[in-house]
């Protein structure tokens, strides 16, 4: 049996983060997200989500709206999915942007391990970030294989 994933440890690494929301017609919207941070009790995930002005992502990111975050280490494919609802949306503070910078550096090192050159990895980072806090209600192991999808 695979070892239990340590979500806090995973979040602290150069992981790939994808956030999904949806509109009233259940049309989903995806964005990359950067600088993930988990609260000490593991109940809240704060992350800077790419949300271009006037985009569907920006519209969907309302307090109370459902949101999910997929967090994966690219070199090992170890991954988790956290599902919950948005509790807060704000412009990123300078401290938060520093967290983003550190995370992007870690992400670049991680993607090099799967053959992605640094310029391409950095090109994946978008300019329009919103700091989003998600209250986590469900956690799933998403590491590929027979155990994928089991609740954590």
């Amino acid at each position: 049996m695979a070892a239990r994933i340590d979500i806090a440890e995973l979040v602290s690494e150069g992981v790939a983060v994808i956030v999904a929301t949806r509109d009233a017609e259940l049309r989903p919207e995806l964005s990359r997200a950067w600088g993930p941070a988990l609260s000490e009790d593991g109940e809240r995930l704060t992350v800077c989500v790419e949300a271009e002005p006037h985009s569907a992502m920006e519209r969907n990111l309302e307090p109370g709206s459902p949101a999910s975050a997929f967090i994966a280490r690219l070199t090992s494919h170890a991954g988790v999915q956290l599902k919950g609802s948005v509790v807060e949306v704000a412009a990123p503070t300078p401290d938060r942007l520093e967290t983003v910078t550190r995370h992007v550096d870690g992400f670049v090192a991680e993607t090099a391990g799967v053959g992605v050159p640094e310029p391409l990895a950095r090109a994946l980072v978008g300019p329009d970030l919103l700091t989003v806090t998600i209250a986590v209600a469900e956690r799933f192991d998403e590491t590929p294989g027979p155990g994928a999808g089991r609740p954590l």
Binding site: A2, R22, R27, A123, L124, G126, P144, G145, A148
Partner: protein, 419 residues
């Protein structure tokens, strides 16, 4: 401002070797994210996504057909969102078989290939395709020649050779000259089983299969095998820097007469339109090879005596029908290949395996292997002894024997015949 783009213009982003995040919604409205290993272009309005055992999107698609996938252009980092509407799931047919061949090529590298097996092809209508943001600008390149012109040139070049071996050489040269594919090799039918899953799958499925990102395929294989390291399993020509690979079956009627194998140091070198191009190249090459009959070496006339090859361990001398061929390190190299051929019928060898062959015992580091092989090839060509050695790709050699051979080893201490 959202920029809408034509799906046709981003075909190179599909099956690009990077996992595509895909979002769906469960019946209760909770967004769900999965990673799709293959997004396949079907036509200008439809794509298909691979559904493997650990992919749980189908129940969501059945309750709400909308999904969104995020794909990346591997050369620039540009990203595109595909807004999709689920149509149906295919579990048979041409499109399903094509994707299954690719998925199985990767799955064959692991012991738990069932975990990677393709269960279905989810077909979606593309509602909208939009650019997320601009990544790096494309490097300026000379205008790409019309692929039809290149294919015509290839067809003309394959008309000239008069033998099976010449066609192989011309094909490899033309692939580099016309298409820039430097690492190409033709795998003989007898060698296919000993090769990687990519090559075996191409032959057994009779389909072009592509590994767009070897590093990712390896790490994914390690993930599903619970941490076992399959490093190296996907490399077949020994090019350590290879990042993508393709295998093209050479099919004539019911027979697979070989597999054209290509590697590139660039990720995603063989995806998109290139895959279709390779299909045509494979058809031309197969027809050209078949038109010259079988390779020369198996056509030994009945009744001819076998080639007598003798190896003297004392100084690594190799004799052919009592005539001296070579000695020293080149002698050990030749004998190693002759023995492998006698034991398994193999005809193709790589520089890498020769370097690792302990029976040859080349010194690590500066082993002068290339110059030794060049001398050996020239020597065999000069004496016309019925044994040939040809370069059939970068770092790849093909051993030829005009007729069956008998091998004799004379250990050290046994008196040598005069030569």
């Amino acid at each position: 401002m959202t920029e809408v783009v034509d799906l046709e213009s981003i075909r190179d982003c599909l099956r690009a070797g990077l996992p595509a995040p895909m979002a769906t919604c469960s019946a209760d409205g909770t967004p769900h994210i999965s990673h799709i290993s293959q997004v396949e272009y079907l036509d200008r309005e439809r794509v298909a996504t691979s559904r493997q055992p650990f992919n749980r999107t189908l129940p969501h698609l059945q309750s709400s057909p909308f999904s969104q996938a995020l794909v990346v252009r591997p050369t620039t980092g540009e990203q595109f969102r595909l807004d999709l509407r689920y149509l149906h799931t295919a579990t048979a047919g041409e499109e399903f078989e094509a994707m299954r061949a690719n998925v199985e090529a990767i799955a064959s590298q692991t012991e738990q290939d069932a975990a990677l097996r393709l269960r279905g092809l989810d077909v979606h209508r593309v509602l909208r395709c939009t650019r997320v943001k601009r990544g790096l600008s494309e490097p300026k390149r000379p205008p790409t020649p019309d692929p039809l012109v290149l294919l015509e040139q290839l067809a003309r070049r394959l008309e000239r050779p008069t033998s099976h071996e010449e066609v192989t050489r011309e094909l490899i040269d033309a692939l580099e000259d016309l298409f820039g594919f430097r690492d190409a090799a033709v795998i003989a039918p007898g060698d296919i089983e000993a090769r990687s899953g990519l090559i075996r799958t191409a032959a057994s499925r009779r389909r072009v299969v592509v590994t767009a990102n070897i590093a990712r395929a390896r790490s994914m294989a390690a993930a599903v095998t619970d941490g076992e390291d399959p490093d190296g399993a996907l490399a077949v020509t020994g090019q350590a820097e290879a990042r993508s690979a393709a295998a093209v079956p050479l099919v004539v009627g019911k027979d697979v007469i070989g597999v054209l194998h290509l590697e590139s140091p660039k990720p995603s070198a063989f995806g998109g339109r290139t895959e279709g191009l390779l299909r045509i190249v494979g058809a031309h090459a197969a027809a050209a090879l078949a038109a010259r009959g079988a390779p020369a070496r198996p056509l030994a006339p009945d009744g001819d005596p076998p080639i007598e090859l003798v190896y003297y361990e004392a100084d690594d001398t190799v004799l052919c029908d009592s005539a001296y061929i070579v000695k020293g390190a080149p002698g050990r190299i030749l004998w190693s290949m002759l023995k492998a051929h006698a034991e398994s019928g193999r005809t193709q060898f790589t520089n890498r395996e020769l370097r690792l062959d302990e029976s040859i015992g080349l010194p690590p580091g500066n082993d002068n292997l290339e110059s030794r092989l060049l001398a050996l090839r020239r020597r065999l060509a000069d004496i016309d002894c019925g044994v040939t050695l040809e370069r059939v790709g970068r770092g790849r050699l093909e051993l030829g024997l005009e007729r069956p051979a008998e091998l004799t080893e004379v250990p050290t201490g046994v008196p040598q015949a005069r030569r």
